[in-house]
Point group: C2
Amino acid sequence: MVVAEFWSDEERKMAIAVLGREAFEYICARRVASFDGQLTAVGVGGADLQTKLQDLVERPPSAGGGWAYAIFWQIARSASGDLVLGWGDGHCRELGDGEDAGGDPVDGGRQKMRKRVLEWLHLLSGGSDDENCALRLDRITGAEMYFLASMYFSFPKGVDAAGKALASGKHIWISEAELASPVVGSMRAFLARSAGFRTTVFVPLDASVLELGSLDAVPESFEVLRSIRSAFGLENPTSGHIAKHPRIFGNDLYPDVDRVNGNAASSAKTQKRPSEMIKKPGDHRLRNPIGIGGTLLQWNHNLSKCDPVSPVQPQQLHRPPPQSFVPPSGQIDFGAVGGNPASASLRELAMDADLSDVEGPSKEQAETTATAEVRRPRKRGRKPANGRDEPLNHVEAERQRREKLNQKFYALRAVVPNISKMDKASLLGDAIAYITELQQKLKEMEAEREAWDGTTSTDHRRPNQIEVETAEGEVVVRVSCPLEGHPLSKVIRALRTSQSDVVDTKVDANSDSVLHTFIVRSPEQEVRTSLISALALESN
Amino acid sequence: MVVAEFWSDEERKMAIAVLGREAFEYICARRVASFDGQLTAVGVGGADLQTKLQDLVERPPSAGGGWAYAIFWQIARSASGDLVLGWGDGHCRELGDGEDAGGDPVDGGRQKMRKRVLEWLHLLSGGSDDENCALRLDRITGAEMYFLASMYFSFPKGVDAAGKALASGKHIWISEAELASPVVGSMRAFLARSAGFRTTVFVPLDASVLELGSLDAVPESFEVLRSIRSAFGLENPTSGHIAKHPRIFGNDLYPDVDRVNGNAASSAKTQKRPSEMIKKPGDHRLRNPIGIGGTLLQWNHNLSKCDPVSPVQPQQLHRPPPQSFVPPSGQIDFGAVGGNPASASLRELAMDADLSDVEGPSKEQAETTATAEVRRPRKRGRKPANGRDEPLNHVEAERQRREKLNQKFYALRAVVPNISKMDKASLLGDAIAYITELQQKLKEMEAEREAWDGTTSTDHRRPNQIEVETAEGEVVVRVSCPLEGHPLSKVIRALRTSQSDVVDTKVDANSDSVLHTFIVRSPEQEVRTSLISALALESN
DNA sequence: CACTACACGTGAGGC
DNA sequence: TGCCTCACGTGTAGT
C-alpha cells in the first residue's frame, strides 16, 4: 500500500529531484515503518484504511461525513528515533469539481491526488514556503494544499491538537472561531484557518489520531463522533473495548469562545447536545490556556457523572478512579512543556492514558456510565418520547444496529465504482448491477480461458487427438489440437513429469490446427498415462 | 432463457423419449411463443423473471415471502390456437434440505430442479398418473411434485383460480380450508391440498398471474400482497398505473369458511386486517358456489367503499361502475361453463376487465379511493398515531420508500451467492465481500490473460526473445518465452500472415521456458516485422 | 409550498 | 426471559 505505489517511476524521480532523496524516503518510511501491526492491530487502520477514510469523507454529513479531508495520523518513529505522530494515510475530497465525480472513486481519486501532489511539489521547489503564496495557485485550493502539506508534519508527544488528542484519549473539536485563535494550541489549526477551513476535528483512535476538516462550520455533535468511531470499527462508547478510555465527549478546549461568537449561530440549530454536555455538573474542563506548539497542557479525565437530563439512571454511583497517580479531582496533569521531543515518548503517554482508564472504574460501571452519559445526541427524529423512560436500552441497541447497517452501506459505497446517486436505494441498485456485471464478465473470461488452454475443454477442442506409438525403440507422441488454445505447456509438463527424454520435437500448423510431434525416450505406457491425465482427455 | 437451455442435450433427448416429442416441444413452445414482448412489456416478467420469483420465495415471510414455490403463469397460445394461461416460469424452494443451501442459488437451484424434473419424468413414464403414487417417492416431495406438474397445466379463459384472477384483476387467496373444499373452483387448489399445501395465492399481474403456495397457513394480508406486487415492479395500488384495476383486496372466495375453521387460529394473530377488510360494508362477494374445473363463476367488481376502520376518509363517495355490462349490483357474470377453451379468448376477457375499470371512476378518484382503502395493513409498528391525521401522504411516501429499498435488498440477495445470515447487515457484508472477491478474481484473470496472449505484456514474459537470422538461404526464427503463457498460436499466425513457408519447427523446453525454432523460407524482414507486431515485443 | 431521503423512537415477532 | 431484527410512523434537513 500507499506511498511506495503512490508514485509512478518518473513521478518518483521527479519528487526526489524536487524534495531531495532524503525527504522523499522519509515520507515513504513514515508509512512503511509505522507501527501498523503493533499498535493499530486493534481494528483501527488496516488494509482498507484508505477505504475507511474515503468513506468518512464521502458520507453524508448526517452520518458523520461531509468532510473535505480525512487524515490518519499514526504513531511512527521519527528520524531521530523518537515516537511521533506522523502521516499514516489520508483522503481529500476533490473540492474543485462538484459532486459528479463519476468513475472509480478510489483510483480516480488517487490519480488526481497524485497530480496535485506533483504540482504542489513543483511549486514548493520554485516558490517560497509561505502558504499564502501557494493559495494563489489556481490549480490547488487552499484546502488541498493543507491536506498535502500534512504529509510533512509530525507531532511529538502531546504537541499540537493531534498529539493532545492521542495523549488524552479525548477528541478535540476546533470550531471556526478557535481556528484563528492563537490560544487553541495547534499550529495546524492556524494553518487550517488559512486554508479556509472552519472546522477541524481530531479524534483519537487507539494508537492513532483521525483528523477531519470541513469548509463549513460543523457544530460539535455526539452523533458525528459516534459515526466516526464506528466507521473505524470501534464500537460505540457505550459498549466497546475502545471504551476503556472514559468517554467524556464534548470537551471543547474553549467552550467560552465557542459560545460567544459566530459559532453560536450554527450551534443554535443543534445546540441540544452541546448545551447538555457542556452544562453537565461535575464536568471538569480545561482551565489553563494552551500556547501554540505545546505549552502547558492540562485537562481532565473526568470519569462519568451521569447526564442529569437523562431521565433514567441505572445504578451509577460515581466511584472516583482509585488509581494512585490520578488526583481525586479526576484530573490528570500531562505537563507537556515545550515543543521538543523529550524523555517520555508519546507512546508512553498514550499508554499512561490507557492505564489510567483500565485501572479506573470497573468495566461494567464504565459502560453504564458512558451509556447514560453519551446517549443523548439524537440529531433528528422525534422528541424524547414525552415522559416515558421504560425502554432505554432498546433505543440504544436499535441505534447501534442502525449504525452498523449504515456502516455497511458506506463500505458498500466504497467498493462499488459507479454510483449514480447517493441514495441508499440507488446504491443497492448500482451494487447489484455491478455484481451481475462482474459475474458476467468473469464468466466470459472463464469461457475465454477455457477456450485458450485446455483445462476443461473436451468440447472446445473437438479435433484433439493424442497418438502414442513406438518406432525404432523411441516413442513418437503426436498431439493435435486447434490453433487456439493448444495445451503445449501441459504437454511439455506431462512429458517432463513422466521423466521422458525428449529427443526431438516438431510443430506443424495446418490451417486451423497444430500438430505437435515429440520423439521421446521413455516407457510408452508411462508417457501415455501421463499425457492423458495431464490433458484430461481420452486417447485412442 | 428457459426451457431451451433448461435441459442439456442428453436430458433433452431423455425428456423427449419419455414425454414424446410433441409434448416436449409443447412445453418449450409455451415459453418461447409466449406473448412476452406484447403483453408483459409493462414491467412484469422480463429477463430477470426467475430472479424475481426466486426473490419472492426466498424472502422472509414478513416481506411477502416464505413461499414454497412461485409460478408465473403467462398468457400464451395453446396448441389449438386459443389464448390460455400457461407456464411462464417458476421457482421452487428446495424443501428437503433445510435452509443451509449454500452455493449459487440460481444455478444450483436450476440444476437440482432439472434433476427433479428428470426423476419425475422417469416416474411418470413408468408409474401411474396418480399423485399419491408420486408422493410415495422419497426423492420428490409432494410440494415439488405439484410444482413440477404445473408445467403441464394451462387454463383457458376464466378457468381455475389463475384464470379467474387474471380475468377479474383481483387476487385469490385460498386458505387451508378452502383448498380441500370442492366449491373453491380450482382443480389446482385440490391438487395443492394433496401436495400438502395449506395456502395458495393467485395474484394477477397485468397480463399474467403469479401463483404462490405455502406449506403453512398464511393469513391473508394486504402487506403481503403489496410486497408481492412491488416485487414485480408494480407500484403499490395506491398510486400506480397498475391501479387501473380498482384495487379491492381481501375478496376471499369463501370468507365464511375461512372464519369457521382452523384458519381462525392463525388469523387471530394478524386478524386486524382480515377483519377490517372482510367486515367491510357494501362488500359484494361471491355468493354462488363454483364447481371444480370451471363451472359457473360469478364475482363482483366492487369498486371501493372506504375502510370504515380507517380514521381518515378523504372524499371517497362510492360511485358504482357505470359500465354497461356490469350489473348494478357490481357483479360480473363470466359464465365460464366447462373446462374447454371456447370462443372468447382469455385475453379479451382480461381486456374487458380493464375496460370496465378504465371507464369506471375517474383516475384520480380511483387513486384516492384505493389509497384510503388499501392503506391500512400496517403489520407492525406503532399504533395509528393517536388521533392525528395531518400527515398521511407522508407516511405513504415513506412506506413506498421502504418498500423500494427492501425490494433492492431482495434483489441483492438474489445475486449474492453465499449469504451467511438473512440479516440485512450480514447481507451487505457478504455482498461487499463478494464484490471484492469478484474484483480480485477478475484482476487475477486479467493479469493471467495478459500473460497468455502477448497483447499487453511487456512485463510478464521478461525473458522473451525473438531472434531472426538467415542461414543457408533459409530463415531461422527462435522464439523464447516462459513455459506458461507462450504465444505459440500468435507466432504461427504471424508466420502464416507473412506468407512464410515453414520448413521445419522445433520446440525445446527448459526448466521454465520454451524455445521455439522455426525454419522458414521467406524474406527475413517481413518475418521479423510480422512477428514483432504480432507479439507486440521489441526484438533485438 | 412541494417532494425526497434519512434517522429516530417504538412496538412486535422470533430465537 | 433477554436479545436481536424489522417495519412502521414521525420529525427534520435538503433541494
